[in-house]
């Protein structure tokens, strides 16, 4: 499985989606792009030497560092991982591009179901239809990543209870259901 080091594309997407302050949180990381579709890992410079040894031997690492997300040719062009999102929110002190939902909502989303208006307790701008949106629990952790059906938080008030606010494309229940399926099958998009 091929991997290449370097290239700033992931940082541009993070800055575009979550702001330049969020991108600052990743300053000390080097991207590693692996596999098809393109998976992005971010690694500290400390790991580079070991990665280079592997590449020099004609092999490729399976991954290195932490999983940051997937680059795509269609919208959404970048799907950030929940690990990346938790890290960005910690750095900037609050979520962006996110809906916070109730515990009952989380339980349903962890089965891969979509986010309904009735479970949203808070919404964090910007949100944009067709673009990624984080789904956080009342504890502030990211439990899922979805595609937004709304273009501003204000729209939620006009929706009916069972209207979909976000289509879930990855949820943490994946670790339980399919932790050992190929990574290509990860997102429902």
């Amino acid at each position: 499985m091929r991997c290449v080091v370097g290239g700033g594309e992931v940082f541009e997407h993070v800055a575009r989606l979550h702001g330049s302050r969020a991108a600052e949180a990743l300053r000390e990381y080097v991207p590693l792009y692996c596999a098809e579709p393109l998976e992005v890992y971010l690694m500290r410079a400390e790991l580079m030497h070991a990665v280079e040894r592997i590449l020099k031997s004609g092999r490729f690492p399976y991954f290195a560092g932490f999983y940051a997300g997937r680059l795509r040719s269609d919208k959404p062009r970048f799907i950030p991982s929940h690990v990346l999102l938790d890290r960005l929110y910690k750095h900037i002190g609050h979520p962006v591009r996110a809906v916070k939902i109730s515990d009952a909502g989380i339980r349903v989303v962890l089965y891969g179901r979509d986010v309904l208006a009735e479970s949203v307790v808070e919404c964090f701008e910007p949100v944009e239809a067709g673009e990624v949106v984080s789904i956080t629990g009342p504890d502030g952790y990211v439990y899922a990543v979805g595609l937004s059906k709304i273009s501003s938080c204000g729209e939620i008030g006009r929706l009916r209870e069972k209207d979909v606010v976000a289509k879930t494309i990855f949820d943490l229940g994946w670790y339980l259901r399919s932790g050992t399926v190929p990574r290509e099958a990860r997102y429902k998009v």
Binding site: E46, S57, P61, F63, R183
Partner: protein
Amino acid sequence: MAGYTALLEDVRRRVSESADPTARRLASKFGYLKYMVVRYYEMLGSWDRVEELLEAFEKPLPRAIRVNTLRFGNPREVIERLERLGYRFSKIPWEHHSYVVTKAGGVSLGATHEFLLGGYYLYRGVASLIPPLALSPEPSDVVLDAAAAPGGKTTHIAQLMGNRGVVVAADISRERFRALRSNLERMGVENVVALRVDSRKIPEIFGEYFSKSLLDSPCTGEGIIQVDPTRKTKTLFEDLARAHRRQVELLTAVVRSTAPGGLVAYTTCSIAPEENEFTVAEVLESVGGVRVVKPAVEVELEPGIVDYFGIRLPEQLSLCGRTYPHTHGFEGFFVCVLEKIGP
């Protein structure tokens, strides 16, 4: 084939010649192949202790969790959240963030939100916590985990290193490698370079590169019969000898990949001397340049075996450590720390 591997043939002969009626009786009472019980007498030195071991293998293993400080800055938060689900724990005194489960809660421990958030790693037995502690990795180390999947020890090593330094996690199995990827991601590990490879090739790739190396070796599982009772009858002596030869090849490669002055921890979830002391003895002799040192862990371990069916193994193997279900209350397990002697 060098000295100690060849001596396994003597062990096999002596085991098969034994006609001890107590061995036959206990083997039949607990449903084991007789050769296994003959060996337990040789390991433990009395039939009472053998019977205690066999009885302990009938009892379920206490499960344990290690709270993951890489995802939850405050480890109490994870415990309190699980207590709200009805769980109760007792703290393991020799591992700062680990707990034995004393009462189960409403949701399975492999399916709680806290598990999915990477709040803890779930162990089927407590002994798995020992090898990373014996390796005592630090943030400045470059560590090899040569049989890493599904990642219990890799994630523990990363936690002990505070997610700094470097861990190369290698494993040969495609399926298990996906579980490793999943666990590292869930647990927020970021100091790992993962490489799917036959670890016997690691010296070719890295040379003498690592300051600390772990080989949590594939083994026959003779220490976890509680988890897999079919192990009582499915493994013949020839299978032990085959496992031994594979372990020698892997340990040889791991020693060769370790820098002079570095440490190697060899561990198995087996109590078989054939897979443990004989493997280390063979590598001490055939590779050379390594010596056994006492594992720096707070948990009390039984010494390694140096006399087995009249065969003398190197005295330094007594510094290796063993656990047994009847003495420790958890799985049977072996750990041996080797130091690569500097130039």
